[in-house]
């Protein structure tokens, strides 16, 4: 079945750790995609077994860490107030702790550009920026995103289309469009950190995304055009007379 959090009590510190899929080197699935690195303390608190850590760090300090962690009040399973900063606007929702950021955005906030496609961090269609870094919204719980700046494609385009969006339109970097907001978010982040990427770098930035219609060549072209790269239209329309005479 799809990967849904079970209805159990959840400790905030235990979440947000990369799960399951092999993360691409950069882009929304990468470890760097989580802008706050998982701290040693958070990691320890998330462990359900102490064997590994006991071996490496000594039982005493582990016991102290666990005691501290257990002293915190677990959240849930009932709904609780969650404050999210979405596209610059602070909004409060009542959410069960198991609700993902993607579900919170789509179902509670009415932000539908991040799409639910693979449900488990493989396709990139739910990509949003968290403090400017692309992340898979399906792999983060809403409560974890509190205090972070969440940007979706709706928040990019208040002053008309951005260069990335404009280039996606002009170069037809989309077909059905279901994957497009995700690609736009990752390319936006790429061009911010690297204003003049090579095609290799564009491909790498897109590597956490899937497009079933097969728009990749035009997406690459759009990204390069948005960065002021080479003009890319290379449509070869050959007339009958020329080709088949």
């Amino acid at each position: 079945m799809a990967l849904y959090a079970s209805r159990a009590k959840i400790r905030i510190a235990a979440i947000g750790f990369p799960m399951k899929s092999t993360p691409p080197p950069t882009g929304p699935g990468s470890p760097t995609g989580l802008s706050t690195p998982v701290s040693r303390r958070a990691f320890l608190r998330g462990l359900s077994t102490t064997a590994l850590t006991a071996a490496t760090l000594g039982a005493e300090s582990v016991a102290a860490e666990l005691a501290q962690g257990n002293a915190e009040q677990p959240r849930g399973p009932a709904a609780l107030p969650v404050v999210l900063t979405i596209n610059g606007e602070k909004r409060t929702f009542s959410l069960e702790p198991r609700v993902t950021l993607l579900e919170a955005l789509r179902q509670s906030a009415g932000i539908t550009s991040p799409k639910e496609v693979c449900e488990r961090a493989t396709c990139g269609a739910c990509t949003v920026l968290l403090d400017g870094v692309p992340v898979y919204a399906c792999m983060i719980l809403a409560i974890e995103a509190q205090g972070r700046a969440i940007t979706t494609v709706e928040g990019l385009s208040r002053e008309g289309l951005t260069p990335v969006q404009k280039a996606m339109v002009e170069h037809d970097g989309l077909q059905c469009g279901f994957c497009s907001p995700g690609f736009v978010m990752s390319l936006t982040a790429l061009l911010k950190s690297n204003p003049h990427p090579t095609e290799e770098q564009v491909r790498k930035a897109c590597s956490g995304h899937l497009c079933r219609c097969g728009s990749y060549p035009h997406i690459f072209a759009a990204a390069l055009a948005a960065s002021g790269g080479r003009p890319v239209s290379k449509i070869n329309l050959i007339s009958h007379d020329h080709a088949l005479a």
Binding site: A2, R106, Q107, R120, Q175, C176, S207, I238
Partner: protein
């Protein structure tokens, strides 16, 4: 009046009209639809690959927090035939509540014996999937000429087994609907390839008059053949909404997509070809079977009902013997999948033809030009070979040096896109000069909205920005389902006709002889509060080429194969595609890119894997069912052959047909030995090279295959209707 020769928009690159909405999140898909009080729906699916369902108790689910409706999928008792068959459905106030409630449904079922592999299912003692009919349906048979004599007198004969996998559609937007009842009237937002067809299906399934149902699909996230009907999920959604007295949205999950909403049937093809010394085919023999899922039987040849496919594909011989069967297994049923049957047919025959060419020492391009009956394709091979640099690149199989071998291959596609003559369109010219075009078609991502806009702007002689195309609504004039690559060839002539009629009225009412271009504003101002409406129908002369003349396309591929890891990388694909009258060269190019990339997935990555013991699909997600990704992209070089005299034709399907075949031939050329089974994964490459033992084909399996073909030969034959696939 034919298409105009001097064009402002027609045939030029035009960014699609709805692209800004799609990149800003304004585009609302079915999955995004929200109505006040809308509930979430979800389906409980069978975990038994085969069972008699005797009782379903919904009480606990109905009593769960937030649950507003729970229904059984069918009147109990009933039979389930595959893991994932629908049992019941629940609607509730949150997804979490619904998922919790699904677990509370109690099902009393008696499991039955099942079989999930076609080689097992074809055995005499296999459990029957459908109790009153054998798993191997009747074989579709056809024979012309004296086949045995032709083989006996051939200069060269090859025989081989070529196999293709079950492929899953996996559109990114899942199948699903949102349904709102208002009294006895129903509105459905459906992710569909045919709003009018879905309305008809909803009406008959729910026994509701058609005029009480409206189906909407403004944006949809891909279909590829899997979204023509509401599906069980759509009907359950409508029933849940009725039962709950509230709107319900039911989108299925990725896991469910792998189980229950269609696939491309597999194939095992035993092909024998004979030719004279020049390579001219003298005899073709093809026996095949594959599985379309839990229903077998001889097929339509389209792949939407059975596992047969067009045969012989493209190439003809004086003596031909064909027999094709379908095998039922306990798995989800196939349905139309982009160019149904064609990529399957293409892989078999194009692989065999290359093997024959190698045996005879004939160049693969030359053997195709010699045997291909379609002039368009023969010329495309010449144009393509020159552009691709075939003469310089083609070497003897396996002759490139070093551990990474380079190879090239080619293959062709056949298609007849046809059109739907009943297609209609409505053009409304407003007094401010803007134009609304209404068409009951839908835009799957193929750019049909843009086609409507381009044709209207061209015919009215006005700026593109003045035209808005409205699609995806059963309140609009009837249009075809988007299948068979015929949306463009159906709608473009209808819009043309509507424009002509609207222009005639505008001319009459404004008194301006030619209201187009510079006169447009002045003419429209005279309309005041009464816009002009022109109702158009499909008409002759604008898209006839589709039905009268077969379409052709060819593709060339260059690959590198690492003989140490077995990894195949496609470097380049060249497409030479017959495009008729191109409407929008930009979206046309996008669609061809997409066809090639889907073909690349079929060639190298995609395959549904079924578990023998549990009957479950083992790779129901994108980690394990591999789709082509950004890193896999070759250079794709596209030559669109613009032939306005052929009228408007469709290219969505033909462009995906030959890709896998061309890649497979390139792999064989690279390593000097054929990997005759799709997808060409590293293990198969290494097995073909003799570097790993038995991974490709074990002796027991080879025996099973032989026995399966013997059973196919012994199965009763039905004579298929004559089909022309030249």
């Amino acid at each position: 009046m034919p298409w105009p020769e001097k064009n402002r928009y027609l045939g030029k690159p035009t960014p699609r009209a709805d692209a800004p909405a799609k990149v800003t999140g304004r585009a609302k898909y079915t999955a995004d639809v929200v109505k006040p009080g809308m509930l979430f729906g979800a389906i409980l699916r069978s975990k038994w690959p085969a069972a008699e369902v005797r009782a379903i108790n919904l009480e606990k689910a109905l009593a769960a927090p937030g649950i507003k409706a729970a229904i059984t999928a069918q009147p109990v008792p009933f039979i389930v035939n595959y893991y994932g068959d629908e049992l019941a459905a629940v609607a509730g106030t949150s997804r979490q509540a619904v998922l919790d409630a699904l677990e509370l449904i109690q099902v009393d079922a008696r499991p039955r014996a099942f079989v999930t592999q076609e080689l097992d299912a074809i055995k005499p003692d296999a459990p029957r999937v459908v109790p009153d009919s054998p798993n191997l349906g009747e074989g579709k048979a056809r024979e012309t000429g004296d086949v045995d004599a032709a083989f006996a007198s051939s200069a060269g004969v090859i025989e081989g087994l070529y196999e293709t996998q079950v492929e899953l559609h996996h559109p990114l937007e899942p199948q699903g609907s949102a349904v709102l009842w208002d009294g006895d009237e129903m509105t459905a937002w459906s992710s569909t390839q045919g709003v009018h067809g879905v309305r008809t299906a909803f009406a008959s399934s729910l026994e509701v008059p058609q005029n009480k149902i409206r189906v909407l699909c403004e944006y949809m996230g891909g279909g590829f053949g899997s979204k023509f009907m509401p599906g069980v999920q759509g009907i359950l959604c409508a029933r849940l909404a009725k039962a709950a007295g509230a709107p319900v949205k039911l989108m299925i999950t990725r896991f469910e997509q792998a189980l229950a909403v269609g696939n491309r049937p597999s194939s095992h093809q035993k092909i024998k070809l004979g030719a004279d010394a020049t390579g001219k085919l003298t005899a073709i023999q093809l026996e095949s079977f594959g599985t379309p899922g839990h229903r077998s039987g001889a097929s339509t040849g389209g792949g939407s009902g059975g596992a047969a496919f067009p045969a012989p594909y493209i190439y003809q011989a004086p003596a031909t013997r064909i027999k094709q069967g379908s095998v039922a297994i306990n798995a989800g049923q196939s349905c139309a999948f982009r160019a149904p049957g064609h990529p399957v047919a293409s892989f078999g025959i194009e692989s065999a033809l290359d093997d024959l060419a190698v045996k005879l020492g004939v160049d693969p391009v030359a053997i195709r030009i010699l045997n291909d009956p379609l002039e368009i394709r023969r010329r495309e091979y010449q144009v393509g070979a020159e552009r691709f640099g075939w003469k310089e690149k083609y070497r003897q199989p396996g002759s490139s040096s070093g551990p990474v071998k380079i190879g090239v291959g080619c293959a062709g596609s056949a298609w007849n896109s046809g059109m739907v003559r009943e297609t209609q369109a409505e053009v409304q010219i407003n007094s401010d000069g803007t134009v609304d075009v209404h068409c009951g078609i839908q835009d799957l991502g193929t750019g049909s909205r843009s086609v409507v806009q381009v044709v209207a702007a061209e015919m009215l002689g006005i700026d593109l920005a003045l035209v808005t195309a409205h699609v995806g609504d059963t309140h609009f004039p009837p249009g075809p389902s988007s299948g068979g690559s015929r949306t463009t060839s159906s709608i473009a002539p209808a819009v043309y006709d509507a424009c002509e009629k609207a222009l005639a009225e505008l001319k009459e009412r404004s008194g301006i002889e030619d209201p187009r271009g510079a006169n447009w504003k002045a003419a429209c101002e005279k309309l005041a509060a009464f816009p002009v409406q022109g109702h158009g129908r499909w008409r002759e002369g604008l898209a006839d080429g589709g039905s009268k003349v077969a379409q052709g396309g060819v593709q060339f591929a260059e690959v590198e194969v690492d003989t140490e890891t077995g990894f195949v990388k496609v470097r380049r694909v060249l497409v030479v595609q017959d495009c008729g009258q191109v409407v929008n060269s930009l979206t046309c190019e996008s669609q061809i890119n997409g066809g090639v990339i889907m073909g690349l997935g079929y060639a190298l990555y995609e395959q549904r894997m079924m578990d023998r013991t549990t009957g479950v699909v083992l790779n129901p997600n994108f980690e394990t069912y591999k789709l082509p990704g950004p890193a896999d992209m070759p250079e794709i070089d596209i030559l669109m052959i613009d032939q306005p005299e052929r009228g408007v034709i469709g290219i969505g399907e033909p462009c995906t047909v030959p890709t896998a075949s061309a890649i497979a031939n390139a792999v064989a050329n690279a390593i000097g030995v054929r990997v005759a089974s799709l997808p060409i994964t590293p293990d198969k490459v290494l097995a073909a090279l003799g570097k790993v033992p038995g991974a490709g084909r074990q002796d027991t399996t080879a025996l099973e295959i032989e026995q399966a073909f013997a059973r196919l030969a012994a199965a009763p034959a039905t004579t298929a209707r004559e089909e022309i696939h030249a």
